[in-house]
Symmetry: C2
Subunit: 187 residues, 2 copies
DNA sequence: ACCTGAACACCGTTCAAGT
DNA sequence: ACCTGAACACCGTTCAAGT
């Protein structure tokens, strides 16, 4: 029988990636090693290679696993500044849960290159609502996404004061900068 | 004589850090290993530890070496939006030369924590000029710095189109977002 | 003071062998 | 099909020994 030596059920990609994600969330990307992950799963390090091509591929999988857990705000018909805020909040909440992943993401553009991802579609929709003309959509969304990434990573990595009140104020300043900026851009 | 085995002059911190910086600039932070660096310097890996506490300390030294090479625009009396642009351009030029360092920086807040650094003082000066009230200086500069970091890293890491024309356009969009944002914040 | 070699505890990954 | 152990080529770092 092809049964794992460690217990009844065999190793699954699901199990591998969720355990790996847990390691990364708690200890950062540098806390993830194939050998530690295998130990955590109570399995031989080399067994992992049967489910995953290599470490880079594994991190790629972790990223999409985590991305799917990000719940984006629906189009509720609210004014666009409120929708900008709601979207930024969604980024923010996700980043707090998976801080290391966002840092990794900023250094690995492949992960978010596909413009059909919900995250881009949502951003496009809100920018259209804000009056950004169609030929400027790509550029404006690129810049905004980079801004928000920078802010979120700065916060989760400890560049900013970490008491809850100051976090709220910083977030507010960021949102006001963006909404005023967008208004000025299109007005 | 306490003379290096490799040639006339002994190993110096200067030499170590500039060689290390070169490695990081060309191959990213992950291309820097104590052993490769030692090979590059034609020296035993362990000799490095006589000049530097460990790898982390070395990277810290590299960061400040590079930081000193960043030339910030002086106060030329120009209107604040132009000075914002000039400062952002300084960030940008530096980032193009040392892309890997900025990614590292965003994950290591210690490096830029000291508010007496020229970079913060310059930013404060410009924000005062833009009419940001004193009690908001810290917050506004934090947010802006995070935005610019995000944008610069996104660009140097390949999130954005890389043809020169599009780079200029993206930069322009970013600056306009920021200046309009600031104007709206204080107006 | 400055440099070195051997050694230790880690990595990712390949490959041939087991069931 | 799935798992494993031994092996290879790398890491950072300590420590005792050399000049």
């Amino acid at each position: 029988m092809a049964v794992s030596a460690r217990r009844g059920s065999p190793l699954s990609l699901e199990e591998i990636s969720s355990t790996a994600l847990r390691l990364v969330d708690t200890g950062g990307v540098e806390a993830l090693s194939m050998r530690k992950l295998a130990a955590e799963l109570d399995v031989n390090p080399m067994s992992l290679y049967h489910h995953v091509k290599n470490k880079d591929a594994l991190i790629g999988i972790i990223c999409s696993t985590a991305a799917q857990r990000m719940t984006l705000p629906p189009d509720d018909g609210a004014p666009w500044p409120e929708q900008v805020r709601a979207l930024a909040l969604a980024y923010h909440r996700h980043a707090v849960e998976h801080p290391a992943l966002w840092s990794y993401l900023l250094n690995h553009p492949e992960s978010t290159a596909d413009r059909n991802l919900v995250i881009w579609q949502t951003l496009y929709r809100i920018l259209r609502l804000a009056g950004v003309p169609e030929p400027e959509l790509r550029r404006t969304s690129d810049v905004l996404h980079a801004f928000v990434l920078g802010f979120i990573i700065a916060e989760t990595q400890g560049h900013l004061p970490s008491d809850p009140e100051e976090i709220a104020r910083n977030f507010d300043t960021a949102i006001r900068l963006i909404t005023h900026g967008l208004a000025g851009l299109t007005g």
